[in-house]
Amino acid sequence: MMTPTSPLRQTPKMVLMGLLVFIFLGRLWPAEEHIVIFHLNDLHGRIDPLAKVARLVEVERRQNPNVFLVTAGDNFSGNPVVDQYRPRGFPILDLQNRLGFAIEELGNHEFDYGQQALDYFIDQARFTIICANLRHLKPGGISVSPYAIRQTLSGTRIAFLGLIQADPQTKIPDTHPANLAGLAFDDPLQTAIHYRFLRQRNQVFVALTHLGYDLDVRLAQELKELDVIIGGHSHTAIPEPAETNGVLIVQAGSEARFLGRVDVIVDGGRVKKKTGRLIDLQSVTGEDAAISRRIADFNRNPELERILARLPFTLEGKDALGCLMTDAIRKELNLDVAFQNMGGIRLSFLKDPIQLKDVFRLDPFNNEVVRYTLSGKEIRRLIAYAFERGGQIDLQVSGICYDVKSDAAGKAVDVIITAEDGSPWDEERSYQVGLSSYVAATYQVPFQDAGESLRVRTNDLIIRFISSRPDWQRYRGVIRARVQPAVVGGADAR
């Protein structure tokens, strides 16, 4: 008969303890484990390729249990089907859930719909949303984790650390500041250093970032403990990723042109090999049928049929439409003057009723408003420059009216500016002027002020303005920009 202390009774305990020691020392790690991380970034509402992504990921999942799908942010903003859905951005949320995303890092455009919409997104997401350098200035608000851990079937731990860009001067991500009330953003590189400990506790250490490629390189230089950086923000396509300081840096372009794939081989609890590549989704033919049907449903967004306003008459001509568009920019943003180039007015009339989709036909380019502080002389130079580009009126305007006197060669010899009501205009003061980002980028007029995007789209402002039921009679036959051929030899050029 065995006593309670007999060696034979102790044998199972010893075996168990030995087993624990083996596990602790890592000797029971599988000889070699293959982890696949698929990654996307900067979708900007482009949902159509996700049926192909779903198929590719599903095929891989059938062969390998250790497959993770992640995104490096900026999945909102850029496609009216997604942006105008109710709730806003819902197609992205729904499709991410259906595709089985594991983790998302916040991008700056995730804040574009406001924190209430983001809070809903986070609440409904069946994946983890991370961002380590986001801080709350007051209790409550959106809730995200600094990092997330995922495990393979055999217990290999993968840490994903989330980091978002913050403008070096304003210290906030590139979205409208009103969307970030109550939030602060720490320097992403300094923040990353605090999470060095993740290396010790996990076999694979990944930074999932929305910093842009240049900052990803600096992150790799500062935090050599990382195995991989999966990036976004700069829309960089890296078909053959290289290592910096031993860290593999990958990014998959933008708008799902590519699906990124990282293969990590873990051997004995350590990363033995890591490689990355891009899958060109344009060359992929297979689609997940159910996801494809879901995307087709979203593309028939009924919200786009919504009536914004009833018109008492058909608004005809680019003068009237240009005045409407520039009034929207000026009035919604409390600016003094706003300009819109003729080429950016893509309809020749608006008729009753105005539906949401009409605004995206009128102004389809998703230009943002760029604000400048300009002198009267600079405004005059801008108008003259725009006229001389094509020898005709090119800028529609709100806040002022103008007449260009031209010579036979199409040169603007004078620009006469008045207030909208015809009263004199003060050329000596400075004005807050809104230009579309297209005009700001392409019109080569040297301004003292370098300008700043206000992070609002012109078409969003037009929706708001039209919905506010403006006085439509203002636009009947309105002309604020005219050209007057100068009398030969009589031009009084300024």
Partner: protein, 63 residues
């Protein structure tokens, strides 16, 4: 903000995209990149989409 394209400085508004900066630099080059005839590469030789967001003193080349 200042961006460098083909080693020339481009002064562009804050919040501009890579496409805005390229347009400021050369409308013709912008059209070529948009049409896929040329590529916009970052300082490390990786292709960048015209919608890519910028940071101060970023460098690009066209090829």
């Amino acid at each position: 903000m200042n961006i460098w394209i083909d080693d020339k400085r481009v002064r562009i508004f804050k919040g501009a995209t890579a496409g805005d900066a390229l347009r400021r630099f050369s409308e013709a080059l912008y059209r070529q990149v948009a049409a896929g005839e040329k590529r916009l590469l970052n300082g490390h030789g990786h292709e960048v989409a015209l919608s890519g967001e910028l940071s101060e003193n970023q460098r690009f080349h066209t090829k």
